[in-house]
């Protein structure tokens, strides 16, 4: 760990510092939105958004390098596609006649396919692996600012509309009957989920980001007595996974995304096992 601390302070390893800062800051959004995603049971929707974001990344790269649009970038493409997916999934839930899970599956795969096609037509060496599984070498200072901005957005929206979002997750039908425009709140929740997913794609990649969104919240949900506590715990657990995962990957010279996700998975299984052996009374 001391070695990792020294590496963080090393001026020759800025990407490690950025990855650490982006990870710690993104944990705030991940814990809060992850909790809502877990209790509202929309993990598969969040997964679909994460995967089809690759289409946006590919389009962003293509527009930037082939079409030569200076302001286009993979991150912008990712954000646009993520929000577009949130719009599509909201519309399908409320107006669609198709089975929702079929649409989720289609969005999932088609988004990725489009992304890979764009990358294939982008000259130079664009490694899809970096986006699929994360690559902290791609991080820069502007990513840290972006994470900070989105943290502010997530914290203020969830903070202001907490009771309504809670009602939406617990009992959407009843919330609607009390005059809450649940369709809009569902849309807001999906948009925040989409933006949150985009935050850490460079660290853990589109394929694995869903685990980092849901596992800390799932662990927290086993011990928390309320949603606020669950969010708070999920934030701390997410921070711990990212810190320990980055340190371990640096120490072992392994890619950081997979190390963070494997660590999350192991801790999740351990917690489940411990709870099986020593069930806690959650009656308080």
């Amino acid at each position: 760990m001391t070695e990792f601390m020294a590496a963080l302070a090393d001026p020759h390893l800025p990407f490690l510092r950025y990855a650490f800062m982006a990870g710690i800051l993104a944990s705030i959004s991940f814990g809060i939105i992850g909790t809502l995603v877990v209790v509202r049971r929309i993990s598969s929707i969040a997964g679909a958004i994460a995967h089809c974001v690759l289409g946006g990344i590919g389009a962003g790269l293509y527009l930037e390098q082939v079409v030569g649009i200076g302001w286009a970038s993979p991150v912008q493409g990712a954000i646009v596609v993520a929000l577009g997916a949130a719009v599509a999934l909201t519309l399908i839930k409320h107006f669609g006649s198709q089975r929702e899970d079929t649409v989720i599956g289609a969005l999932w795969a088609v988004g990725m396919a489009v992304g890979l096609l764009f990358m294939a037509r982008t000259p130079g060496y664009t490694d899809p692996m970096s986006y699929l599984f994360g690559n902290i070498l791609l991080l820069s200072k502007s990513d840290v600012y972006l994470v900070l901005l989105l943290d502010l957005l997530v914290v203020s929206v969830v903070g202001l509309f907490y009771n309504k979002l809670l009602a939406l997750c617990f009992d959407e039908e009843y919330a609607f009957l009390r005059g809450v425009p649940t369709g809009w709140y569902y849309f807001v929740l999906l948009c925040l989920t989409a933006l949150t997913v985009v935050l850490l794609i460079r660290v853990v990649g589109v394929v694995m980001v869903i685990a980092l969104l849901t596992l800390p919240a799932a662990i927290a949900g086993n011990v928390a007595s309320g949603i606020k506590q669950m969010m708070f715990l999920a934030v701390l657990i997410c921070m711990a996974f990212i810190t320990v995962g980055l340190a371990a990957s640096y120490r072992l010279d392994l890619p950081s995304g997979p190390v963070i996700i494997v660590l999350s998975g192991i801790v999740y299984l351990l917690v489940l096992g411990i709870l099986q052996l020593f069930p806690i009374r959650s009656a308080q």
């Binding site: 009771n163 997750c169 039908e173 009843y174 009957l177 009390r178 949900g221 009656a283």
Partner: protein, 253 residues
């Protein structure tokens, strides 16, 4: 409120789903402090009728008036109590937060005022759950969870209480307690209770509304074996014998 004009009035209502008629020619008037049991076989249209009354569905034909207005405009005056078993047992939420949901109203941010908290606490007290506010909802017994949901409807200030299958999955003792509570609430509120179990059309109710595509209204005393078998056909397996019906027959007219 004028005691004579109905709080809920349904005229000539039809509703179909995918071309299949679920409800036909429904006429129904419910009056202030009525206690009505809505019975019928599964798939007979009970839940559809309730969804129309609370404004989750709109009728294809006919008219529904709740307090003289369309259901969507009267939502805040109706207290709806869903089945407690519908809720995710893993959801970490306190009893207090569930009850306060009844006060969400239509304020933009949905923050609870002191008045909201007071109403929630009073409703919990009335349901005999005053000390349970900070407990986790899923840690309560089935009967307690049901009372929390009734408290939520009471906190919302609803004047009509609609309970969806409250008698499913609860033991006879809890059920008896439920009817004690409803008898007390019926002194000030109109109560409509949905069940597929005709045995619950007990002496508590003034009227029984039988729903099986068509709707027929009976005084409770008319609920006899003949009517029950007409409603359910030969599929009926469960008949309770511990409630009292008059022996006279009746006719659908």
């Amino acid at each position: 409120m004028d005691q004579q004009s109905p709080v809920l009035s349904i005229k000539n209502l039809c509703f179909s789903y995918d071309g299949r008629a679920i409800l036909e020619d429904v006429f129904l008037d419910i009056y202030h402090k009525d206690s009505v049991c809505i019975v019928g076989p599964n798939g007979g249209g009970k839940s559809t009728l309730v969804k129309l009354i609370i404004g989750l569905l709109s009728p294809a034909q006919g008219e529904i008036r709740v307090f003289g207005k369309p259901p969507q405009e009267s939502r805040l005056r109706v207290g709806y109590v869903p089945q407690y078993a519908n809720y995710d047992p893993l959801f970490p939420i306190s009893v207090r937060d569930v009850v306060r949901m009844g006060r969400l109203g239509s304020s933009f941010l949905g923050h609870y005022s002191r008045e909201d908290n007071r109403a929630a606490l009073a409703a919990l007290e009335e349901m005999g759950l005053a000390g349970h506010g900070s407990r986790r909802f899923s840690a309560l017994s089935g009967g307690q969870r049901q009372r929390v949901l009734i408290a939520r409807a009471l906190a919302s200030g609803g004047e009509i209480l609609i309970l969806d299958e409250p008698t499913a999955n609860i033991d006879p003792h809890t059920e008896e307690h439920l009817f004690e509570i409803l008898t007390e609430l019926n002194k000030r509120l109109t109560i409509m209770l949905v069940t597929h179990d005709v045995g619950f059309a007990s002496h508590f109710f003034k009227r029984v509304v039988c729903v099986n595509r068509r709707v027929v209204i009976h005084p409770t005393s008319a609920l006899t074996g003949k009517l029950i078998s007409e409603m359910y056909g030969s599929d009926l397996h469960l008949i309770r014998h511990d409630h009292h019906c008059a022996l006279e027959g009746h006719s659908h007219d």
